[in-house]
């Protein structure tokens, strides 16, 4: 370890490793630190990601792909099933990863690109001078270090402190975070070709249960409920109920717990000498909780922006605004659309969820586009879709049609 770098990245998840890799490939001197002694472990993820999205950033490797699925099946509270193709299923469906191996592979790519990597190294604070972040205070094996950098990137996950230290309030309200529990189950009878989602206010209040195949009769069986639904009943208790009912003979060989930001975009993710990436920047999808691709996209962008800012010797918040603008235009739009959907869908009763599912029954969604799905939903449930009209910006014909029919 040196005492100064161009960029220090705090946290070696997918977002941090991508930042470090891209910044190193841009020729910067990079340090990537991870507070755990093992990158990728313990896992805090359902491990689903869209194949095509992922391929933009890394060559698929069987070493970290547990299973490949064709699409998703969504079950309404009364058991009505809606099948969706992979393309329609969004950023979380395609591959089911082995994150322990995947995260390590990404960190290795960062290392091969030239970044220095340190594990068991924790950021305990920031060095701040004249209103600029100038590096980090770190702790490694019981010793304290000050390490300087032109830019610090906080990719320190849901429990991020880097943003807070720089004056960016990333505190989540209970309703802004999804509290999750998951078992890796073996010896269970599942559909190996589909990611399954179970909806219902009783089984998963303000949330859902997922079953993601992991190959060989194994699956990640998990639940996420929003924090405001947690307290009297816990995510893990609801999960146990579900498992007992659906997989009484199954065995859990791993327990995963975690919190996922579902707040939508936050006000600011840059400061003088600082950028936030991934869950630390609250860039996960508010409906699905998915964040692997978003983090990698944002990390790659942060690495590029770090390089251009350092080249022009201006690491001020104004200069790093380039990152802010770009991720908001690309990821932020989708995140905020998801937030609108989340806010509407979380108010639906079980009866309403069933009605929605029934309205899609018999419609072949195998080849449907997203527009086709929305159209089918809209035809059957005009009032609901009227509430969601703000996500249809740019789909003028639907908007006009909705407005004409609801208005009449």
């Amino acid at each position: 370890m040196k005492d100064r770098y161009d960029v220090i990245v705090v946290g070696a998840g997918p977002g941090g490793s991508m930042t470090a890799k891209t910044a190193a490939l841009e020729g910067l001197d990079v340090l990537l630190i991870e507070k755990r002694q093992q990158i990728g472990d313990p896992v805090r993820c359902a491990e689903g990601v869209n194949k095509e999205y992922l391929k933009e950033y890394i060559e698929p490797d069987p070493a970290w792909i547990s299973a490949e699925v064709k699409g998703s099946k969504i079950y309404s509270p009364d058991g009505t099933m809606i099948e969706m193709s992979e393309e329609l299923s969004g950023a979380e469906v395609g591959y089911v990863l082995e994150r322990k191996v995947f995260d390590r592979a990404l960190a290795r790519e960062a290392a091969l690109a030239g970044a220095e990597v340190m594990v068991k190294t924790r950021a305990t604070g920031l060095l701040i001078e004249d209103g600029f972040v100038k590096g980090i205070k770190a702790e490694h094996m019981g010793k304290k270090y000050d390490i300087r950098a032109k830019i610090v990137v906080g990719a320190d996950g849901v429990e991020s402190k880097v943003g807070r230290w720089a004056g960016i309030d990333t505190t989540l309200k209970p309703s802004d975070m999804c509290t999750c529990a998951q078992y890796l189950m073996t010896d269970i009878d599942i559909d190996p070709d589909f990611c399954e989602f179970f909806l219902g206010n009783e089984i998963a209040p303000i949330g859902y249960i997922w079953v993601f195949p992991k190959g060989n009769n194994m699956a990640n069986v998990g639940i996420g409920i929003t924090g405001n639904a947690s307290g009297k009943v816990r995510a893990i208790e609801l999960l146990d109920d579900f498992v007992q009912e659906h997989y009484p003979g199954g065995k859990a060989i791993e327990l995963v717990v975690g919190g996922v930001p579902v707040c939508g975009t936050i006000e600011r993710t840059v400061a003088n000498g600082l950028m936030l990436v991934g869950d630390a920047a609250r860039q996960s999808d508010p409906v699905t909780g998915g964040g692997i691709f978003n983090s990698m996209w944002a990390g790659d962008m942060a690495g590029k922006v770090a390089a251009s800012a350092i080249r022009r010797s201006d690491v001020s918040a104004e200069s790093l605004e380039e990152y802010e603008k770009k991720w908001r235009a690309e990821l932020g739009r989708d995140i905020n659309m998801s937030l609108v959907v989340k806010q509407r869908f979380t108010r639906l009763s079980d009866h309403e969820l069933n009605t929605l599912a029934h309205s899609l029954e018999g419609i072949d969604l195998g080849s449907a586009t997203l527009i086709g799905l929305l159209w089918a939903l809209f035809k059957a449930n005009k009032k609901l879709l009227w509430d969601l009209r703000s996500i249809f910006k740019g789909i003028k014909d639907i908007e006009m049609e909705v407005s004409a029919e609801v208005g009449s």
């Binding site: 002694q37 309200k173 975070m177």
Partner: protein, 57 residues
């Protein structure tokens, strides 16, 4: 008066850290530390996926 963490239940996921309004919690490698700024609001205890935190009055 502070929050106590049952280390035998805690899955050290850090969910509690993200909701703490005073920044009193910190996820170390495999445990949660609580510092003096804890104001007993109990939000962390509410959202814990396994119920490992408790506000002791």
């Amino acid at each position: 008066m502070t929050v106590s963490v049952d280390r035998f239940k805690c899955g050290y996921c850090g969910a509690c850290v993200s909701v703490c309004p005073t920044g009193a919690l910190e996820l170390m490698e495999t445990w949660i530390e609580v510092d003096g700024s804890c104001n007993d609001c109990g939000i962390c205890a509410k959202i814990c996926p396994v119920g490992a935190l408790e506000v002791s009055k």
